[in-house]
């Protein structure tokens, strides 16, 4: 964490724009703004903080578009003023009348618009999509998010570590393990402590179970959106088996509140390892034919190959995490690229592809399931003995930051603990912040009917983004 002046702040923005470093986060608080940046030749992410007593600061997005939504959110949440921000419409604050929003104008002959949401047809989160189409072809998608803005950063201010950990774990329920992990590691970084080795390995087991469950669910759902519902049915069974195993081993189907600052809240029961091993065996046996089916079904391939292409250059510029980035050539995985226990002691591959289409994102998921199964096996085989939780002692004011790889990409958590040991400020940045805008780009030129497929292959979080 380093304090910078206005000139240094602007210089960092320029370096992002020229591709020398990647923006990992941009957030604020009254009188101060922060950016998290990964320099391409640096081993770790740096946080730069700029004091702005009058709440105004030079806009990063004036030169680097991926920062636009983050800066719009900073305006809404803290009244900060990014000078030079190219788009000053509100983002997370809908004001008294949520239907009044100036969508961007669209001009051209024979164009029509389709407005979808916030309440969608399926069981999904709320958001609004404004399609402009020329016949069947989408010429522009504009998203409007913020419907599930819950005021998480506001609730964090003054929360005890226990309360804050529960909140962090509910930023995006599908990634509750990853959020709890990033939060716990940020607290531990701030306090200068490490969770016991056994706790780190148990955290790893939970994180991989969560990844497998989500990838299974999405693999099935993507195929279902291409009218191949048999995959959804079989993946649904496998996903359910993962959740039941999680409930039996850790006491909660989604493993909420199991990872806490200082370690884990529960150990593995006596039959836990055997249960997880038999789950791994079952998935291996049943998942392989599903992958064969996917690969051999022309009608499925017809829908996914060449659909919703995200150009590698955009993925790199936006620092797209997770399968979205890795299907478009961006070789970043926080478990490897940043590295944290237990992954620094485990063998695994980070699958990367270049095509950037729905099919590539599907294959990244498939390969990651295989990697996660192997990772869990390694962890069970070599699980260190010992305690699983250490007590947290307040040390006075301190700051910490951590990254954890959720199934959809890296989650960044930055926080400051006050003198009383409570949370002063906590910012949680979902991978979706940098993925949502890319979905707008990926759908361009595709037919409207392919949107559900593209959307599901990204599967961005609304709640994680809306905070």
């Amino acid at each position: 964490m380093s304090a910078v002046d206005t000139a240094q702040w602007q210089q960092m923005a320029q370096r992002m724009a020229s591709g020398d470093c990647t923006l990992f986060g941009l957030w604020g608080e009254p009188g101060r703004v922060h950016m998290a940046v990964l320099d391409h030749d640096a081993p770790a992410i740096a946080v730069h903080s700029l004091d702005c007593p009058d709440n105004s600061f030079p806009s990063v997005s004036a030169v680097h578009a991926p920062a636009i939504r983050l800066e719009r959110a900073m305006r809404d949440l803290f009244g900060l003023d990014p000078v030079g921000l190219p788009d000053t419409r509100p983002w997370l604050d809908h004001g008294p009348n949520p239907t009044a929003y100036p969508f961007l104008p669209v001009e051209g002959e024979s164009l029509h618009q389709i407005a979808v949401g916030p309440v969608h047809a399926g069981i999904i989160e709320p958001g609004h999509f404004r399609f402009t189409a020329d016949g069947e072809t989408v010429v522009r998608l504009e998203q409007r998010l913020g419907y599930v803005h819950k005021g998480i950063e506001h609730l964090m201010h003054g929360a005890t570590l226990d309360q804050a950990a529960r909140l962090a774990g509910r930023t995006s329920g599908d990634s509750t393990v990853a959020y709890a992990l990033a939060f716990a590691r940020a607290v531990e970084a701030a306090l200068g402590i490490e969770a016991p080795p056994r706790a780190a390995w148990l955290r790893g087991v939970m994180a991989e179970l969560e990844r497998i469950a989500n990838h299974l669910g999405d693999f099935g759902a993507i195929c279902n959106d291409a009218s191949f519902s048999i995959m959804l049915a079989h993946c649904g069974i496998l996903r359910e088996r993962v959740l039941r195993c999680a409930a039996a081993c850790f006491g909660h189907r989604l493993m909420m509140d199991r990872i806490v600052p200082g370690g884990v809240a529960v150990g593995l029961p006596a039959d836990g390892a055997a249960r997880i091993r038999s789950l791994i065996d079952e998935i291996r046996v049943r998942f392989t034919p599903l992958v064969e089916l996917y690969d051999a079904t022309a009608s499925l391939q017809d829908r996914t190959v060449g659909t919703g292409i995200l150009h590698p250059d955009l993925a790199r510029r936006f620092g797209a995490g997770g399968h979205v980035g890795r299907a478009s050539g961006r070789n970043f995985d926080a478990r490897r690229s940043i590295g944290y226990p237990p992954y620094d002691q485990l063998r695994f591959e980070v699958p990367v592809r270049e095509e950037g289409d729905v099919n590539a994102r599907v294959w990244i998921r498939i390969k990651e399931i295989e990697q996660s199964l192997a990772l869990i096996e390694q962890m069970l085989n070599r699980m260190p003995e010992g305690e699983v939780r250490i007590a947290i002692e307040p040390t006075g004011p301190c700051e910490g930051m951590a990254l954890a790889e959720a199934f959809r990409g890296d989650v960044l958590v930055w926080l400051r603990i006050d003198a009383a040991g409570r949370i002063d400020r906590c910012h949680l940045r979902d991978a979706s912040w940098f993925q949502w805008p890319l979905l707008e780009a990926a759908i361009e030129g595709n037919i409207v009917a392919d949107f559900p497929l593209c959307n599901k292959s990204f599967n961005c979080s609304y709640s994680g983004h809306d905070l």
């Binding site: 047809a121 709320p126 419907y147 599930v148 506001h154 079989h234 069974i237 189907r253």
Partner: protein, 169 residues
């Protein structure tokens, strides 16, 4: 070989037996449901899900109701795409200020007789986001609620028990 391996996964059948309605709150609800409406609907309900600010955890478990273990449709219960086709609104989340209007509109678009099921601690008004200035709180503060299914998130079995209570009186 493919099909055979897949089918082996379904032997013995994975479908769960009907869960017992052992919760007195649910039994009481079942007893007080309007009988005329019940006769009109028979043993079938169409459900429209509304996320009013959930963390998406509740949605994951609602989704699970459709998997082969819980197989919601065998009870005559099914999710529909429009509130105009729905008998039941299943609402999750602490009702963010930004979702209030959409929830009210969805409720008005649902024809009578209708029921509202508040799903999860957030929708009950007791979740982790309670007290946030960005949230209204309990679903019951915005639309009339007939049944609350607590949990963070409630398990599919708990959800199923609640829905079956709506069918049995």
């Amino acid at each position: 070989m493919t099909l055979k391996t897949l089918l082996q996964g379904l032997r013995p059948p994975v479908t769960e037996p009907v869960p017992a309605l052992d919760d007195p709150e649910l039994a009481a609800l079942a007893a007080k449901l309007d009988r005329t409406a019940q006769r009109r609907l028979g043993r079938s309900l169409s459900i429209r899900e509304v996320d009013a600010g959930s963390c998406n955890g509740c949605e994951l478990e609602i989704h699970a109701l459709n998997n082969a273990f819980y197989d919601l449709e065998r009870f005559g219960l099914r999710f529909v795409a429009s509130p105009r086709h729905a008998d039941v609104l299943m609402v999750t989340g602490p009702v963010t200020k930004h979702m209030r209007q959409a929830l009210e509109r969805t409720w008005r678009a649902t024809p009578d007789p209708k029921w509202v099921v508040a799903v999860g601690d957030c929708a009950a008004g007791t979740g982790v986001f309670a007290g946030s200035p960005a949230c209204i709180g309990a679903v019951a503060e915005v639309v009339p609620v007939d049944l609350v299914i607590r949990g963070c998130p409630p398990t599919p079995t708990q959800l199923l028990q609640g829905l079956l209570a709506l069918l049995q009186s």
